[in-house]
């Protein structure tokens, strides 16, 4: 009962001196607003990155050949570049087709796709005055299935294209716009010549896919480079890497497979079966899920560090509140004396002033939350992320501003409670 009375009293007090109340709250407002803004931006980035990476495939495992870490080096994890007198990676160290086939036979139930790709390079297709920038990538059949291109015209690669390493390609509608003024039917079946570092490659267009310009890293201009797909073996032929094996393979696991634990299984399978005799290199398997996790952890750590710095301004704000509470108590010494004469106990005086300080802080906190959400959303949107407000941050902010109110209000309130009623009554 006394609490409601005190809250009403505190609100009336705030209203009667709006300017002072606002200035007092300002520290809390700025503190809470910056914490919330940072959390909102951080949260937006996390959500965005997560979605992007999920889209890239949460079931993906990257199987790669990497240098074995010796015991001395394991302490300085990660940085193997220029590590002493290690011999550099040779094609002998690569994963061979035989290894891959043995492995796939063993774990066929767990693997949906085996993605193999080989990048020929970025170049320019030229036809008279017309030109378009392309990035030529060779995909195997699994990879094309997995990518699931949105074909506007023509066909996808067929088995003969893969087996015979046909010089066929699938280009973007964007490419067709540049090279054939958007005339898809005349584009299909046409031969185009692409120059990469002075070498010329010729392909026949069999299909046109819709270029997805909505992804975050793309901005469509005249000179946008789009992907041109060719069969995997076509690319390997042109790069003369036909029988070299693979330094890196991407596996897509089935939905039922726990990709993180499967990553360990794959890693130990390859290393026991094929790499036990290799002194310098081994296979490491990274799951996209664990990459997402470490990415999220990294963002949260940065976010937390920034929020703590912003939180310092909250402490400054709290000191401001304490200062004003001390002034207010001095001003109201006579009132405190009167209240004591009318029967207020020390406890009720203390409660009155702590309530007042908590009310100031929570009001400041609420204004700060609104301001922070607005600022954070604007910043996130401006940076190109869709704003996502962190609810937990809001809950923490309210609790924290309340705690500041109690912490910084206690000393002044206790001082008021301990005033001698006679001295307080006589105070002018």
């Amino acid at each position: 009962m006394l609490i409601t009375e005190n809250i009403l009293l505190a609100l009336a007090g705030l209203k009667s001196n709006i300017m002072r109340s606002l200035l007092t709250m300002l520290g809390i407002i700025i503190g809470i607003a910056s914490v919330i803004a940072i959390m909102t931006v951080g949260n937006s980035i996390t959500v965005m990155v997560n979605t992007q990476m999920q889209e890239m495939g949460a079931n993906n495992l990257t199987v790669g050949v990497s240098a074995k870490s010796t015991s001395e080096e394991s302490t300085t994890s990660g940085l193997h570049f220029g590590a002493g007198n290690r011999r550099s990676m040779d094609t002998d160290d690569y994963i061979t087709d035989d290894m891959l086939d043995t492995f796939l036979d063993e774990y066929a139930d767990n693997i949906k796709y085996t993605l193999l790709s080989s990048t020929v390079g970025s170049g320019t297709a030229v036809d008279g005055d017309l030109y378009a920038y392309v990035n030529i990538v060779g995909y195997n059949q699994d990879y094309m299935d997995y990518t699931n291109l949105d074909l506007l015209a023509g066909r996808n690669f067929i088995e003969q294209d893969y087996e015979n390493a046909q010089k066929v390609c699938i280009v973007s509608d964007y490419f067709v716009n540049n090279m054939f003024s958007g005339d898809t039917s005349s584009a299909l079946g046409s031969a185009i010549e692409v120059s990469i570092d002075g070498k010329y490659y010729t392909y026949y267009i069999v299909g046109v896919y819709e270029y997805d310009s909505s992804t975050w890293f793309s901005d469509s201009t005249e000179d946008t480079t789009t992907d041109m797909y060719i069969p995997y073996d076509t690319a390997r032929n042109q790069l003369h890497t036909m029988n070299e094996g693979y330094s890196s393979i991407t596996l897509v696991t089935t939905i039922d497979t726990d990709s993180e634990s499967f990553a360990d299984t794959v890693e130990s399978y390859f290393n026991t079966m094929f790499y036990s005799n290799n002194e310098d290199y081994e296979v490491t398997v990274t799951s996209m899920a664990s990459m997402i996790e470490s990415m999220t952890t990294m963002i949260s750590t940065i976010e937390l560090a920034l929020a703590i710095i912003a939180g310092i301004s909250l402490v400054v704000g709290g000191i401001g509140v304490m200062n004003i509470m001390l002034v207010s108590i001095t001003e109201r010494t006579k009132e405190i004396g009167t209240r004591k004469a009318l029967g207020a106990t020390n406890g009720s005086i203390r409660l009155q002033f702590i309530t007042e300080s908590v009310v100031i802080c929570i009001m400041g906190g609420l204004i700060g939350i609104v301001l922070g959400v607005v600022l954070g959303s604007v910043a996130a949107t401006y940076m190109g992320y869709s704003a996502s407000v962190s609810i937990s941050a809001i809950v923490v902010a309210v609790a924290f501003s309340m705690a500041i109110g109690i912490f910084f209000g206690y000393y002044p309130a206790n001082k008021a409670a301990k005033l001698n009623p006679i001295d307080a009554l006589r105070y002018e």
Partner: protein
Amino acid sequence: MAAGDIMLDLRDIHKSFFIGTPNEFEVLHGVNFTVHEGEFVSIVGQSGSGKSTLMNIIGALDRPTSGEYTLDGVDIEKAKDHELSILRNKKIGFVFQTYNLIARTNAIKNVELPMMYAGIGRSERSERAKMLLEQVGMANRMMHNPDELSGGQKQRVAIARAMANDPAIILADEPTGALDSATGRLIMDIFHRLHEEQGKTIVLITHSPELSQETERIITLRDGDIKGEADGRWAEIKEELSC
């Protein structure tokens, strides 16, 4: 003269203040007096006579250095600090020279305050506060804040507030000291009415011998000692003053 139960009983009250070691300054040198229920008593003294100190002790705002003080059967000596708070809340109604209304708080809320500290419910509180304000003729000013009231009006609100928890005694410290004579008269009339009609025990503290004549009994304080007790002229002037 009314002679009910003993309401205030002070025996050999001493009060000293330390004014830095080794000096000790005694303000009250053994004060003895009794106030009965329903009495209207005045304590008169010049400034420096110790009447403020005495008032603080009567009002349970301060403790005597030695001596015994019983208020409505409660031994003040033995009461703890928070018990003194409850005592002030329930047994004493203060009326100050400077009104001491709570700023930015309207008349009715001011009157409700002692009831709030007594833990009385909201609706009962506001009902009683209204009733009390009506009694002192402030029914039409209940929602006004102190800064919108004249001195006399403020003092009337303060009297209503003093009556809030139906105290054992009303302790009025120079209640007309800051008012002009006409308004002062009005305030004194309210005290008389409370005394006559409701049988309230009232202790009036004043420096004015003239005002003290309006009470039933006058206790004169000089240099920390009671220099005499005399009957006031209230019985005589009652007829001409009563409205």
